[in-house]
């Protein structure tokens, strides 16, 4: 068990809404991005003399480009509906972690410089000057938001704090205060091809090693092809799947599914990363640049289908944004979109989630399972925030909830859901999403995991659950790290396709 330098919340049967404790998390400041990283990203690396003009310019720029930000700045009535919905507030009691208060950090500045009442009577409407102190607060609290969108479910106007956090981070970057963790990852993915900075030859070695392991384990020569031109399916998966535990177990699962289906598929060294931290930073251009690698890889390899592995925010970007950003999808009638559409197989949705793919095969009876192989596990499923509230699977709304559960029930005998208030669209974030999965934010991560850990604790105690099934690389890494803080074994964390991998029968 890691020694915590802060108080780990005590697990209780229900999550009590805490009394506010002002400034409880004001000390949190994740490492600031260094010069070399900022320069690569095209941002200043320190606040220059004109930081204030730059920040206000960027704010005005974003207000003109994003209807979400524009409307959300005006529409909030401070009703309080969101105040007890954020896992970071529930875990820290810091009032600035209430979604409305997090938004107000920006809204105060918006009112002061962009609205009439804020210009003439700032004291009346809660408007404040933009100072360095404000910027420090932004930096602290816009990095205590995982952009999970839980608040947007409950807001009567659908105000999504994620949109404001993203804008806040983009303004901070533009003024010269980037976050080291996210920006370094964005440099790696652009320079090397994935978030972990794993170069092509290393990836090739890793995959060859995994093929040997699978064959030794099952006696079946399951392949992990890389950069195969003309393969039908291009699999784009988070790079953590290549060598983090338990992620790699799911990668083995995907490979076994493809093997059993008898299809040709490939990974790409260029697109060896499904994740797209451009989402977290709120920069459309960065997100687009990172997404463009997938388009380029698909065009180069000539693949007919694009399938995305287990990764929450990656699936949101792929499902909701790829068609916009890089043309993976249908319905575009411009040359840019048509070029890729003509290549893709229009009988299938593009892109497709690996769970959609596996569930289709299960329904067709293509895959055979020995469910008893998973009998040592009593399983529950954590709905990842970006999948739940920012995407879909299948043809019906809510398919993102039913399809992964259907797969689990098809490959295992023991499944219990957590409390209904903590799953589906009401799911609590793991606490490490949105660019917070870094050790310098461990306090935020552990405390933010509290509502989920409470719900897990209830099924662990009440139903003897011993396995938390996930479909997100960040969730997997986060829970592996924070489970021990709450007295649970990190090996209780794994992927849905890890369960598939255990039970699937191969010829």
């Amino acid at each position: 068990m890691a020694a915590a330098e802060f108080e780990v919340p005590t697990l209780t049967e229900y999550v009590d809404v805490p009394k506010i404790k002002e400034g409880a998390m004001a000390h949190v400041k994740s490492f600031v991005s260094p010069q070399v990283t900022q320069e690569f990203m095209g941002y200043p690396w320190a606040l220059g003399e004109d930081w204030k003009e730059r920040a206000l310019f960027k704010m005005g720029d974003l207000l003109g480009k994003y209807r979400s930000l524009r409307v959300f700045m005006d529409a909030c009535v401070h009703c309080g509906a969101c105040t007890d919905k954020c896992h970071y507030f529930l875990g820290t009691a810091d009032p600035n972690n209430m979604p409305v208060a997090r938004q107000e950090l920006m809204r105060k500045v918006y009112r002061r410089y962009f609205t009439l009442p804020g210009k003439i009577a700032p004291w009346l409407v809660g408007a404040e000057d933009l100072t360095q102190e404000t910027l420090e607060k932004w930096y602290s609290y816009y990095h205590q938001c995982s952009e999970c969108r839980r608040c947007s479910v409950y807001c009567p106007y659908g105000i999504d704090t994620a949109e404001i956090t993203m804008a806040g981070r983009e303004i901070l970057n533009y003024a010269g205060m980037g976050q080291k963790y996210s920006n370094e990852i964005l440099v790696k993915v652009q320079k090397i091809g994935n978030n972990l900075g794993l170069p092509g030859p290393a990836l090739e070695d890793t995959l060859a090693g995994l093929e040997e392991d699978i064959e030794a384990d099952t006696g079946v020569p399951v392949k992990m092809p890389l950069d195969v031109e003309g393969a039908e399916i291009l699999l784009v998966t988070p790079s953590a799947d290549f060598f983090s535990e338990p992620h790699v177990e799911s990668l083995i699962g995907y490979a076994k599914v493809f093997h059993a289906a008898g299809v040709s598929w490939t990974l790409s060294s260029k697109a060896s990363e499904a994740g797209n931290f451009g989402l977290f930073n709120g920069s459309y251009e960065t997100m687009r640049t990172v997404a463009m690698r997938i388009r380029d890889a698909a065009l180069e390899l000539g693949c007919k289908r694009i399938i995305v592995g287990e990764c929450g925010h990656a699936w949101r970007v792929a499902y909701s944004f790829w068609n916009t950003l890089n043309g993976v999808g249908y319905g575009g009638d411009d040359p840019f979109a048509r070029k890729l559409q003509e290549q893709l197989d229009s009988r299938y949705p593009q892109p497709m989630h690996i769970c959609e793919y596996t569930w289709d095969l299960i329904q067709q009876g293509v895959l055979k399972f020995d469910k008893s192989a998973n009998d040592d596990r009593v399983i529950t499923f954590h709905d990842s925030c970006n999948v739940s509230r920012g995407s879909r699977m299948g043809t019906e709304p809510g398919g993102q909830f039913t399809i992964p559960r259907n797969i689990i029930r098809a490959v295992a005998n023991n499944f219990h859901d957590m409390d209904a208030d903590t799953i589906g669209e009401a799911t609590f974030c793991c606490g490490g999403g949105g660019g917070l999965l870094t050790d310098d934010l461990i306090e935020v991560r552990v405390k933010g995991a509290y509502p989920r850990m409470n719900a897990f604790n209830n099924v662990a105690k009440g139903r003897q659950v011993n396995f938390l099934a996930l479909i997100c690389a960040i969730c997997k890494a986060q829970f592996t790290k924070v489970f021990p803080y709450y007295g649970f074994d990190r090996n209780m964390v794994g992927g849905v396709h890890q369960l598939v991998s255990t039970a699937i029968k191969l010829d």
């Binding site: 409307v71 309080g80 409407v125 409950y154 593009q350 892109p351 920012g390 709304p397």
Partner: protein, 245 residues
């Protein structure tokens, strides 16, 4: 024209101009700001007719708020429905002859004022009693509630306690609409009521009251969940495409 009539004539014209001009400008501003990405809060309807239904539930029933907090929902919904009925009842002061349905809802509109003020009182109480809501409340939040309660109470006073000269008031209102100016009745309660209403109209386009048009433009609620089937792209983002293709 007395100075009283002159003042209220000017005030109500000004307030009407600000309300409609200001709202029109806001709506223009919201509508011309693009939404570059598909961001409906899912699960979301996959068709446009589904989106219309979702929006209708949101506007009429406060669906998301109901999921969120039953007290805020109860008070907020009571207030808004009360206000809607009260406003509809007031249509009678702006027309001659009066439409049938306006006649019909008069008693409902009268008693709806109780729901309206009770809802407002509940919402205001939360600003003092719930520490989280107290923390986020600004002076203007309190003043807007005071304003609305002031409007409600002054109106109820005239409806249920000290009737104003309603015939003269209606003549004044119809006069404003036909530019055939009639004297404004010199009744203190009526003067207070109309002054507060004008104030509300004036602050509407520059305050949080913009939530009313805002919700219709909220991308998390007004977008269909169909990003794989349709290519959604903002003009400024499409410009980036052309460079690449």
């Amino acid at each position: 024209m007395t100075s009283l009539t002159f003042f209220y004539t000017g005030l109500l014209y000004f307030a009407t101009l600000v309300l409609f001009g200001g709202l029109a400008y806001r709506i223009y501003e919201y509508s011309r700001t693009p939404a570059p990405l598909k961001i409906p809060t899912t699960p979301a309807p996959t068709t446009n007719s589904g989106v219309v239904l979702r929006m209708a539930r949101e506007v009429a029933l406060f669906e998301s708020l109901f999921k969120s907090n039953k007290w805020i929902w109860l008070f907020g919904w009571l207030f808004h429905v009360g206000l809607a009925l009260v406003l509809l009842r007031h249509v009678r002061y702006f027309q001659e002859p009066v439409w049938f349905w306006v006649e019909f809802i008069q008693p409902f509109g009268k008693y709806a004022s109780f729901a309206m003020v009770a809802g407002l009182a509940g919402l205001w109480a939360r600003r003092f009693l719930v520490d989280r809501v107290r923390y986020i409340s600004t002076p203007s939040d309190h003043l807007i509630l005071a304003l609305l309660i002031g409007i409600g109470l002054s109106g109820m006073l005239m409806t249920f306690v000290a009737h104003t000269d309603i015939v003269a008031l209606k003549a004044f209102m119809l006069g404003l609409m036909t530019f055939d100016f009639q004297p404004m009745p010199a009744d203190a309660v009526l003067m207070a009521h109309l002054f507060l209403v004008a104030l509300l109209m004036i602050i509407f386009p520059i305050s949080k009251l913009l939530h009313a048009p805002g919700i219709f433009f909220s991308p998390t609620r007004n977008q269909a969940d169909n990003p794989r089937e349709t290519r959604h792209i903002a003009p400024w983002a499409a410009a980036l495409d052309r460079d690449k293709a």
